[in-house]
């Protein structure tokens, strides 16, 4: 070191190598290996067997149910997120902090508890249990329960991305549009929406990934009826517990591909549109 200039904010080379190896090693061991094993096990009996496990009727109906539940839950939470962000970011009112904390609450609740609460409301011994039974309305162990649980676990995604983004962007542009005579609706569509579109896409992407992959909450309310109320992750569990490892890992590989695709899009959005995402995602 003597005589040579050493940047005081840079770690010595040996430390750099050591810490990099620790970081890469930990990620490889804990994150990459599980991902690899999914594809390895799925292809254990060849691509044909894996493909057959995915296009088998029960698996297909699980795919359909997952897409349907996400297809209902994600748009509803998107409308909610936009509405919450519009109220919180563009207006002043007391109790705002409490409202934002309550919106975040579902993220802190265990997935199993997220399912349990709907059982306590709609289950046989629940609040509306006997009423629903009398009127032959099925919420638990049917699509509505699965959708509700999915909505709950993905509840904050859009709101918590849009609120900080829209607070950052301020109100000047919207106020200018309104004072120039634009209607509220066209102000939203032509001023606000273009400003938040990448942040919104980012949030919807993550919301959708979680909606398709949710396991704990849906597991409580689904009833596990094969080919009827099993979503993709529940179908994975069923196959795995029946020792059909190739089938379980084939469907799991499909979910893992979706997860990887989500990560790719997310990374692209973070690189390309960093300035148009909430500050916490800017690298």
């Amino acid at each position: 070191m003597s005589g040579k200039f050493q940047n005081p904010t840079q770690d010595p080379l040996l430390l750099r190598i050591f810490l990099s190896l620790v970081a890469i090693g930990f990620v490889a061991l804990f994150l990459v290996l599980p991902l690899l094993i999914v594809f390895k096990e799925a292809l254990a009996d060849g691509l044909g067997k894996a493909f057959a496990a995915i296009i088998e009727p029960d698996a297909l109906s699980a795919v359909k149910l997952s897409l349907l539940a996400a297809g209902i839950a994600v748009p509803l939470n998107t409308v909610f997120g936009i509405s919450a962000a519009w109220a919180v970011a563009k207006h002043d009112f007391s109790g705002k902090t409490i409202l934002v904390t309550l919106i975040d609450l579902p993220f802190s609740v265990s997935p199993v508890v997220s399912g349990l609460i709907y059982v306590l409301v709609f289950g046989l011994q629940g609040w509306f249990g006997s009423y629903l039974l009398d009127h032959d309305i099925h919420i638990l162990f049917a699509l509505p329960g699965i959708v509700l649980a999915t909505i709950f676990v993905t509840f904050p995604f859009v709101a918590r991305e849009l609120i900080p983004l829209m607070v950052d962007q301020g109100r000047d542009e919207e106020e200018a549009a309104i004072s120039l005579g634009a209607s509220g609706f066209s102000t939203f569509c032509r001023v606000t929406l273009p400003n938040i579109k990448w942040g919104l896409l980012y949030a919807v992407l993550l919301c959708n990934a979680r909606a398709l992959g949710e396991f704990g909450a849906v597991s409580v309310v689904s009833g596990h009826i094969r080919g009827q109320t099993n979503t993709m992750p529940l179908h994975v569990e069923l196959l795995y517990n029946n020792y059909d490892y190739v089938g379980a890992f084939a469907v799991a590989a499909l979910l893992a591909l979706l997860a990887l695709l989500t990560l790719v899009f997310k990374t692209i959005l973070e690189w390309r549109y960093a300035d148009e995402l909430a500050a916490m995602h800017r690298h």
């Binding site: 005081p8 770690d11 430390l15 990099s20 970081a23 061991l29 994150l31 599980p34 999914v38 509405s83 563009k90 207006h91 002043d92 009112f93 007391s94 409202l99 904390t101 919106i103 975040d104 802190s108 609740v109 265990s110 997935p111 199993v112 508890v113 349990l116 609460i117 059982v119 306590l120 409301v121 011994q125 629940g126 509700l148 509840f155 919207e174 309104i178 102000t187 939203f188 398709l212 992959g213 396991f215 704990g216 597991s219 409580v220 993709m232 992750p233 529940l234 569990e237 795995y240 890992f249 799991a252 979910l255 997860a259 990887l260 990560l263 997310k266 990374t267 500050a279 800017r282 690298h283």
Partner: protein, 283 residues
């Protein structure tokens, strides 16, 4: 009450509401929040107290329930400490160093967010089983992970890692490097600078990430149940016991555990808010 009114009046006089849609957006936000989140959570909180506090306590104080709560929270704490240690190193490497493949390493960190927990669960179970890639090596050294409480730890560490890394990263990259130069000028070695200047400055953020990883781990279900063996009193986590009790139609027992987990989540949320206020003051 009057102080409250006084505080609100001047603000109202100064700025009239310019942007439209306040009533509609706030109304829908509060309605959706109440129907989806607050009322069902209320159903959970009320349920175990149907038999009074004594009834709640009888449900909670059985050895099996206490053992499951101890396992979930104890292992979550341990996993959060592991995640914060390695998260600190990974975030440091990602923010401070440059090397080929850094972008890939960065993108991979979010894998536990994107990968459905059931997929992670069967992957970890296959890896750590006595004949799995990692399990076989460990068993040769007399260490058994799968179907023991240590399986719970492995899954919680997997699921919690992104929380510590992603909390630290933005704060680290914003942190000014002047203080490190000052420390170096004053004769500190690089390691002294890191451990006595850099890490203490990051402490509130590090604790925030640790608390988030802990909260997530304590409530985790999907990635654990395939790996843990689920033996009552030994490797049975609290969320699984909730499901077991629901399957026995013991709603009150399930709800009692749910209330404890919800209360813990709430305490963590308050602690996180306090930590963030501390971090903001320190910056």
């Amino acid at each position: 009450m009057s102080a409250f009114g006084l505080a609100l009046t001047p603000m109202k006089l100064r700025q009239r509401r310019v942007l439209p849609g306040f009533g509609l957006s706030l109304g829908f936000t509060v309605f959706y929040l109440t129907v989806i989140v607050l009322i069902p959570l209320m159903a959970l909180v009320i349920r175990p107290f149907a038999l009074g506090f004594g009834g709640f306590w009888t449900e909670i104080s059985t050895p099996r329930v206490l053992a499951s709560l101890r396992l979930s929270f104890g292992m979550a704490a341990l996993a959060a400490v592991i995640d914060s240690f390695f998260g600190l190193i990974i975030a440091w490497v990602l923010v401070r160093y440059r090397f080929a493949g850094k972008g890939l390493l960065d993108a991979l960190i979010d894998l536990p967010f994107a990968l459905p927990t059931a997929v992670a669960g069967i992957a970890l179970s296959t890896l750590y089983a006595p004949n799995g890639w990692i399990g076989a090596i460990l068993i040769a050294h007399g260490i058994r992970i799968a179907y023991t409480p240590w399986g719970v730890l492995v899954a919680m560490t997997f699921i919690g890692l992104p929380f510590t890394v992603r909390t630290l990263q933005p704060v680290m990259s914003e942190q000014s490097q002047d203080v490190e130069e000052v420390a170096a000028t004053l004769g500190a070695t690089r390691l002294q600078t890191i451990f006595r200047v850099v890490v203490p400055m990051l402490l509130p953020t590090l604790l925030t990430g640790t608390a988030m990883a802990f909260a997530r781990g304590a409530g985790e279900y999907g990635s654990i149940i395939f790996l843990a063996g689920n033996l009552p009193m030994v490797s049975e986590i609290a969320p699984l016991l909730i499901i077991t009790k629901l399957e026995e139609y013991d709603y009150a027992g399930a709800a009692a555990i749910g209330v404890v987990m919800l209360a813990a989540a709430f305490v963590m949320l308050l602690a996180l808010n306090a930590l963030q206020a501390w971090a903001a003051r320190r910056r």
